[in-house]
Amino acid sequence: MKKLINSPDSVIADALKGIEASDDNVRIDHDNRVIYRREAKDSGKVALISGGGSGHEPMHGGFVGLGMLDAACAGEMFTSPTPDQMLAATTEVDNGAGVLHIVKNYTGDVMNFEMAAEMAVDAGVKVETVLVADDVAVEDSTWTAGRRGVGTTVLLEKIVGAAAEEGLDLAAVKELAERVTANGRSMGMALTSCTVPAAGKPTFDLPEDQMEIGIGIHGEPGRHREPIADAKSIAKQLVDPILHDHDFTGAPVIAMLNGMGGTPLIELYLMYGEVVALLEEAGVKVERNLVGNYITSLDMAGCSLTLLRADDDMIRHWDAPVRTAGLRWGL
């Protein structure tokens, strides 16, 4: 393992110091590992909190700031944060209008946020929760933990963040958030595994001539493994299951071609070109897009595609000003 770290035990604490030093949108509670938006509370604004395991940067800490999140809780590497962190964040950011918890659908994240929400409600805070479960690689059924929450989370934090900034109340913010999750789908693939610092070796073995289709963001296995192919056919393996799962025609679409952390941008742009060609063929009209590393899996090489069937409201919120380390426009 070769990594830019001091020790596997201090990666998160050390990284939080660097985030604090580099990003003037945020302040950090190092004891609770919560990243807060720096400027003073805007009274009457619904507050947005997310959080999850570390190792997915810039998500979530890099999306704290004007027009997106009010706070992000950083867990251990690939491990959910704990309810005491979330409770501290929830009571700190609430200014009477209530708090929306944005939770990715993993059993640990769901349970920890659920406990935090129960405690916050006991403390007199209005809390609503939206669950993101957009990974089409996972069969959704009552007999599994359900689909994983991946790329749609990024789009949701941007769109719903703008709506909260505009002054929508908690019920309206939650309704919009649920509309986004209902219309977002993702699919990912890996060229390599990733190495968790504490483990010191790759989470799974993937031979040089193989790729894993349908991966999650924690090095968990995908749908299947097959010989590496050209970008055009890999793009098809991402686009087809998404279009099969949800209708993306007849509405403006927001597309995100996301890098898993270890793939150069030139390859992500190349993949985006292939994806857009396939979408055009299928009659899907992409109105807005993101290409880059937004929801990563440490040093994993590979990419994921997220499509959101948007509406005029969502596009307007997408275009609204945002100032975070991860996304910045309109200012």
Partner: protein, 214 residues
């Protein structure tokens, strides 16, 4: 140890129980992580060892059984993380609430409190039997404990019945297909592996048997 009066669990016994549990977890953390790497994310042993070690540091402060168990539960929730933190934390917190502000429990009272804890886990995890989780070890174990107590068994004998039922329940998870947690993403491929949560839950009874044994 050895402070156990014939047929009662006192505050010190329960503190000793959690100390012994932490020890067993620590001795088996590599094994638990190996079980977890087959069908989960390879951190169950390390996470439980970190959490139970933190619990041991809190045990001397409590003046009552509910305070002891609630503090231990909160500590697990805030140090273990993942799924095990909320589930084991809920188990101990609900057990403490059901036990109440007392310093000793008769077997039937202990059984009632433990069952309340298990019901808390079922509610938190939205789990049922045969989902391939810790519930597959815990539910049969408390049934066996209550049945033994109802039959007039002494405390230690009832605990041994529960221990055997937990181990049988744990081993029965091997052929099951996981329906909860990260293992469920594997579908049929999760069969053939012992559930790590059922393994760590069985140690609860192993620890209790050690503490109440002669």
């Amino acid at each position: 140890m050895g402070s156990v009066s014939a047929n009662e669990l006192i505050l010190d016994d329960l503190a000793e129980w959690l100390r012994r549990y932490a020890q067993i977890i620590d001795e088996n953390k590599t094994y638990l992580t190996e079980l977890d790497s087959a069908i989960g994310d390879a951190d169950h042993g390390a996470n439980m060892a970190r959490g139970t070690a933190a619990v041991v540091a809190t045990l001397d402060q409590a003046q009552s059984i509910d305070a002891l168990l609630k503090k231990a539960g909160m500590t697990l929730v805030s140090t273990v993380g993942g799924t095990s933190g909320p589930l084991y934390g809920t188990l101990l917190m609900k057990m403490g609430m059901a036990a109440g502000n007392v310093v000793s429990l008769y077997p039937d009272q202990f059984g009632k409190a433990f069952r309340a804890g298990i019901e808390g886990v079922i509610a938190r995890g939205k789990t049922e039997l045969e989902d391939k989780t810790m519930i597959d070890a815990l539910l049969p174990s408390i049934d066996a404990f209550d049945a033994a107590v109802a039959d007039g068994a002494g405390l230690h004998d009832a605990i041994e019945s529960a221990q055997q039922a937990a181990a049988a329940g744990r081993d029965a998870t091997i052929p099951m297909v996981a329906r909860k947690g990260r293992a469920s993403y594997l579908g049929e491929r999760s069969a053939g592996h012992l559930d790590p949560g059922a393994a760590s839950a069985t140690y609860l009874w192993d620890a209790l048997a050690d503490v109440t044994g002669a």
